[in-house]
Amino acid sequence: MTTRTLLDLRLNQPRFQGMEAGHRACQGCGQALAARLVLEATGPDVVVANATGCLEVFTTAWPDSAWRVAWLHSLFENTAAVAAGMEAALKAQGRNTKVLAFAGDGGTFDIGFQALSGMLERGHNVLFVCFDNEAYMNTGVQRSGSTPHAAATTTSPAGVARMGKRHLKKDILSIIAAHHIPYAATASVAYPADLRKKVRRGLQVDGPSFLQIHSPCPLGWAHGSELSIEVARLAVQTGLFPLIELERGALTGAMHIRQIRPVTEYLKLQGRFRHLFTDDPRAREELAHLQALADHNIEIYDLLGNSPEALDTEGADTVRRGGLHSA
């Protein structure tokens, strides 16, 4: 019987560890977890184009890098174009290494959108993964196109004149779907098995695929670092972040909600919505507005399950002794 060193054990884990320990993410970072889960599903034969942002900054402080996969960070706005270039080169060399693009919500919804649309329109065989933590976190929580309505950030503060962000969270998935790509889906760190399944589906299709992963940020959303999974799960169970799949623009899959939770259960855990719980009439109006948005999602994506299913919001994360070997 040998006493194994920690490092020996770390190098022999049953799943591929695409991102190693020692990165500088904040405690409880949803994005760090999401990135590792993605690479567990893709495996090592990938090349990654990564946008500027938290993920890129906390994994590659020279001379250290947390990545075990081939990885390139160029700029904030050109990730999809860089990925397209990589895909073209690999196609020219006849290699079937998969190309992944990693970006935050800023790098996907806003500054990187043009390059993304171009890549989708040209049909490059790339899986674009957006880690959506709903604001510019690396620069200290400024509002982005993905920030939810009424959420407070440093550039959409809850002030006297306004209750957090005025505009709505951009419906990026519908815009992506309008490019009629083979596969586009949303996922959440609260449902890792579902997330990994969708990554594998993204890789299998021939042509561009898109995955938007809800990744809580304890710093930006202002909740305890231990609550990241609980918050992510409630986002799905309230209908505010639906887990859906679109193929060629049509809705082909959805994780049904077994027991719909009111949005207040999700909002009250987060400091970015604290101003909605004062006895200001506008706060009550904004809470009603967010509930209406959730109800709308449930209706148009037909999220309410009529009977308990194995993979609905209560069943998908059910644990089994010995863990989920396959997922």
Binding site: R24, A25, C26, Q27, V57, F58, N138, P218, L219, S225
Partner: protein, 191 residues
């Protein structure tokens, strides 16, 4: 000119502490400068911030390499070598810890004033924010600036109940700290 370095963890208000200390100095007619160790403060990661206080305008814009005093917001940082790097011989350390000052002084080889700032702030402010208590202790020990100045500086940032609790905390700590214990050390380095 006096140079002070404040050590904490991302999210513990080390930068606010530096700004409040410099604001206090400026409000009482002194010249001062405060800035964070520039970098991505990750929640939980060790961070430092710097304060310079002087009688004449401070024109330099560079890091503090040899501080005269340290303020330690999280005692686990005492275990990192870089925390004490460059501290002037005999430089005083105000540390947020339950441990005994003398024991720490012997171990670290510098005069240490220990106070349980986290507990004090949790009892009085209702949440663990050690910076106000540590600043109050520092000013009482060094008489560098009047403690009343610190209260005015906080009045610019907080109001209502939060301000009242902070002022109460300052009085508690000032009363429990040996006034002027490091006064001559503060004087010597400010020449």
């Amino acid at each position: 000119m006096i140079e002070i370095r404040i050590h904490g963890r991302g999210g513990q208000g080390s930068v606010v502490a530096a700004y409040v200390l410099a604001t206090t100095a400026i409000d009482v007619g002194r010249f001062a400068q405060a800035f964070p160790a520039f970098g991505a403060e990750r929640r939980g990661a060790p961070v430092a911030s710097f304060v310079r206080i002087a009688a004449t305008p401070i024109r330099r814009h560079c890091q503090v390499a040899q501080p005269a005093f340290l303020i330690i917001q999280d005692e686990t940082l005492l275990e990192l070598p870089e925390t004490l790097a460059g501290l002037l011989p005999g430089g005083g350390i105000v540390a947020n810890t339950q441990r005994d000052s003398q024991a720490l002084s012997d171990t670290l080889g510098h005069p240490v004033h220990a106070l349980p700032a986290t507990r004090l702030s949790r009892d009085t402010l209702g949440r663990p924010m050690p910076n106000t208590a540590l600043l109050a202790a520092f000013l009482t020990l060094t008489n560098l600036l009047p403690v009343a100045g610190l209260k005015d500086a906080l009045a610019q940032r907080f109001k209502g109940d939060v301000l009242a609790r902070n002022l109460d905390l300052i009085d508690q700590v000032a009363a429990a700290t040996p006034a002027g214990l490091w006064q001559e050390r503060a004087h010597a380095t400010s020449a």
